[in-house]
Symmetry: C2
Subunit: 609 residues, 2 copies
């Protein structure tokens, strides 16, 4: 069993179900794993704001400060509202559960559907960005971008199949190193400003009038900056992965993440403003800040390398959240049941594998150019943000627990801003985000169809005393025979052992003379087994055989007989021998397998050489 | 059954075996189909000679005339020797059969193997050349070269699956148009020379001394020119496709092809010499001759278009010869049996499909740049040429029929020249042809391993009176049960109808408490069916189940009992529902299917909704 040895090597020994407790996150690991997506946004969020503002003039760049304040305000609102969600829904599920319970099934499915797609986009976008960073450093590899991305996805998929704590241990170092690098950068930068080492004339003072600025543009810049907030919902989806008491630990992790995100975001925006940095096509804003602060020395490369790493790791947030969301949807029967089963290492392997496969597909289809997907991805985040906040609003209003007015206010502000950001995206970037309006309805309809099917199947499977199965009266066993061989003898031997059956051997011949000869030989060899020969003028085995089986089946079902077709299966000594045999068996089996009343039995015949 | 409708549309209605006679070639069609490869070589063969000579100087170009005489001599020898092969081996098989019967198995397999590979190369090379011609005319398409090649291969594959006469009817027009075009070109060219419209000073007189010419170079030019002879063996492989009397018709077709090839080859070489044409990178020699003869008018484009067409059609020769050669090899058990079966339209579909698939693979791997394969392809032709001529030599010497001395002489000359050309290729182009020395041994070893397997299987399958099968004493039927459902009830109902069996229901549980509850429920529901519950700490169904089956199997085989595992199969109303069910069944089935002593029975359960 080499296959299982490879599996064992890649993902480790299976874990017992009782080991589940040991597979849970402590806060430090959770912070690393679940906030890498949000924190990595610091690497591109501030830049997104500057890119919009620079279209007016470099004078307009001071607007990045008030816009950053607005983003921070939105961040605070989101963190506080998600904190409330964590305590109200300690079993996780995030936006999907909140929206479903308070707003109804469809809003829930819209939230769940857009998050599922979003996690796939997260993985594709951030891995491609990481691959770009690698190939920028090693231009030789540039033409292999797609291949490198796929290898990275495969690597993260395998790491996650090993189970969540193991992936957390391995993947949390780069996250903390990234934070360290940025804090050093911000600290040194501010120190230089305070000590007067940086000219204060590099930037335009705040409040300088700007010709041609418009509200539309400012909103667009704000919306672009808000894309730095994608990923803050991940913790609320993943509460079941926390060590007990899960909600408290999750809430504390969320607050820590919010604080870190706010500090890093503010620091980067402030330095870029003070240094008067303008976005460039071939160098990121963070790289420019680092180069100005340190010069191109070791610290500069430390910032660059950890930034590239965290962009790749942002994908990992998707790997934590996607399987849990899929589990919630599968439990409610909106997606296939297999997403609700834990694999060998206690992770939801099917979710992880699906995420990996779809991301690779997306990377290949877009040929590694995933930048165009970013707005799509951002709008896909603010839809569930809005729905979950609105859901909480409704909940507080309905239940009115102690102190509900403040709670309602927090979620109201969260819902309002999220909705505004979503609308700004739709208005200012419609050409890029319209696909959401097509695929979301398709996904929701798909959820409903799957659900309807599962709901319809339930009663059909239930055993009822008043509708007992009618016992089968007898069996007809059909044995297709190609010649007079040991294989046929073996199959007939088995057929005869099921003594109750009526055995019919069927031979398909392509030649009238051969047919006669075969019949005569058969009579001598198996005089007690009835032989039916079918002449096939078109050299097809399947067609005459399946016609014959149909006729028998019709007669049999009338008198409540079962029909079994025995198909021989060569078991060769070496696997490659399989391509030399079994072609007809495979064809017959696959053709009959989906017939509603035909039982297909595979009788092995072992070859000794 | 949409799939079979598509198949019917693409390849037409199935033909009865008795319609085989109507599917044979008359001479006119055979000439078109089987000589397109050889005739198309006229489009590049003469040029190959000039390319080698021009490396010395344009003075050396007169050597093309004596070299052409040598090529014509080789052509005559080959045609006469293959004519003798046709009459000696009227059932076809060509070089493979001749070499095998007279020289032994390994020379036969070397000849057969190199021809098989060669036909794949023919298709890949000539289709790529055709695609180049198309995209030279429409540069917009240039980046889609590979795709266009693949579509062309698919097209020719489908045409050939429709059966040989249909493909011949459709594909013979371009071949005759090409001949017509070249004859007009040569005729007008000679007329102009005779009437003195062409200056006689464009060329160096024959015999002019050339500085720096060497035997090595002349041999190289001769070998390059001999590549125009690839394809002359096709007719001898395809004799079974001719109308009766097949050998006579094939021989006449071969002679006609030889005459045509000689005329066209001589004409082109003569015109290019007289016009003093030097090979150019961006214009073919034939194009230069046509432009000088006609000017760039309709006739010029007629020559160009028919040349492009015949290059594509050269591939079709491979489609006629490959399946027949594969049939001969399969009949002798050197490749998989499936190559010996005729498809719906009486062509050997598996051979045609294999040829199409491998050519597409080759085109994709080489990214459409197949020029480097040409020398490989030429040497791959002269190996079987040499072997078949040598085989005939041995045959005449052994059998000594009437007039054997002349026959022997013809084949001796053929063998000698073929061998020389082959050696010239190895000596002058070793850097390009060395892969032959690696893949040919691999192929021959592969043939032997397949043969050894089939030969070993034969006796194992033969029924013998002194080694009767021991009747099975009884049956143990294992029914894996997931829950108490109608599906299980249905399977048990079938199991019980096989009254001889001992039934064991097996339940795999992931939780000790669930296990107890299940056992109690079962006792009430099916008190007479023995239930075994297996606790799976690792949440795997397969592992404990297969361990259990193994234990039962060991006990059973000791007392000559059979072990049958019943696997339920949901038959949903809509095909897409399959992904929502059957995952566990599929897993169990595939896991047990290749166990040597386990009989796997699939019991369908039809869902009503």
């Amino acid at each position: 069993m080499t296959l299982s040895a490879v599996k064992r090597f890649l993902i480790g020994r299976p874990l017992k179900s009782t080991e589940l407790g040991e597979q849970k996150f402590n806060k430090k690991k959770a912070l690393a794993i679940l906030s890498s997506d949000a924190l990595s946004s610091v690497a591109y969020g501030p830049e997104q704001i500057l890119i919009v503002l620079i279209t007016i003039s470099s004078v307009a760049l001071w607007y990045s400060i008030p816009i950053a304040v607005a983003v921070l305000f939105l961040l605070t609102a989101l963190i506080l509202s998600y904190r409330q969600i964590i305590f109200a829904y300690p079993h996780g599920g995030g936006a999907y559960v909140v929206a479903k319970e308070n707003l109804g099934v469809n809003p829930g499915l819209i939230a769940g559907g857009s998050l599922l797609v979003d996690y796939i986009l997260t993985v594709a976008v951030s891995i491609s960005a990481g691959a770009d960073a690698i190939t920028s450093a090693f231009p030789v590899l540039h033409e292999h971008n797609v291949l490198i991305s796929c290898i990275l996805v495969a690597f993260i998929t395998i790491i996650n199949l090993r189970g969540i704590t193991e992936s957390a241990s391995l993947l949390s170092y780069p996250v903390y190193l990234f934070m360290l690098a940025l804090f050093i950068l911000i600290g040194v930068g501010i120190y230089k400003i305070v000590t007067g080492a940086v000219s204060s004339e590099l930037h335009t003072p705040i409040g300088t009038p700007v010709a041609g600025i418009s509200l539309f543009l400012l909103l667009r810049a704000f919306a672009s900056g808000s894309s730095a907030l994608t990923g803050v919902e991940a913790i609320s989806n993943a509460i079941p992965n926390f060590k007990a008491p899960a909600p408290n630990n999750a809430a504390k992790t969320l607050m820590a993440m919010g604080a870190l995100l706010a500090l890093l975001f503010t620091g980067i925006i402030f330095l870029s403003y003070y240094y008067g940095i303008t976005p460039k096509v071939d160098e990121t804003v963070v790289s420019q800040i680092a180069a100005q602060t340190f010069g191109r020395n070791f610290l500069y490369y430390f910032v660059q390398v950890t930034t590239a790493l965290i962009l790749v790791l942002a994908a990992n947030t998707g790997y934590s959240a996607f399987p849990l969301l899929a589990f919630s949807l599968a439990k409610d029967k909106y997606i296939a049941r297999m997403f609700s089963m834990r694999g060998d290492r206690l992770a939801y392997s099917n979710g992880i594998l699906t995420l990996g496969a779809t991301s690779i597909l997306l990377i290949i289809i877009s040929n590694g150019r995933t930048e165009q997907l970013i707005p799509l991805y951002a709008v896909g985040v603010f839809i569930p943000f809005t729905l979950s906040q609105t859901g909480m609003l409704v909940k507080w209003f309905r239940e009115r627990p102690k102190g509900w007015a403040l709670k309602l206010l927090i979620n109201f502000v969260g819902a309002l801003i999220s909705f505004m950001v979503m609308m700004i995206f739709f208005i200012t970037k419609f050409t890029q985000v319209w696909p959401v309006l097509i695929f979301l309805p398709i996904i929701v309809i798909g959820f409903h169809r799957i659900n309807r099917h599962y709901e319809a199947v339930g009663p059909q499977l239930r055993t009822t005393a008043d509708d007992p199965v009618i016992p089968i009266e007898g069996n007809i066993i059909i044995v297709p025979v190609a010649g007079i061989t040991k294989v046929v003898e073996n199959s007939l031997n088995y057929a005869k052992s099921l003594s109750v059956g009526q055995i019919i051997a069927v031979h398909v011949s392509f030649d009238k003379e051969d047919e006669k000869m075969f019949e005569e030989k058969w009579k001598k060899w198996q005089p007690d087994v009835r032989l039916v020969t079918l002449y096939s003028g078109y050299r097809s085995i399947i067609q005459p055989l399946s016609k014959f089986v149909d006729i028998i089946e019709r007669k049999a079902s009338a008198s409540n007989y079962s029909v079994t077709v025995l198909v021989p299966q060569f078991i060769p000594k070496k696997p490659w021998h399989n391509i030399l045999h079994n072609q007809s068996s495979l064809l017959i089996r696959n053709f009959l397998l989906y017939r509603k009343n035909i039982i297909v039995t595979t009788v092995p015949y072992q070859l000794k050489e």
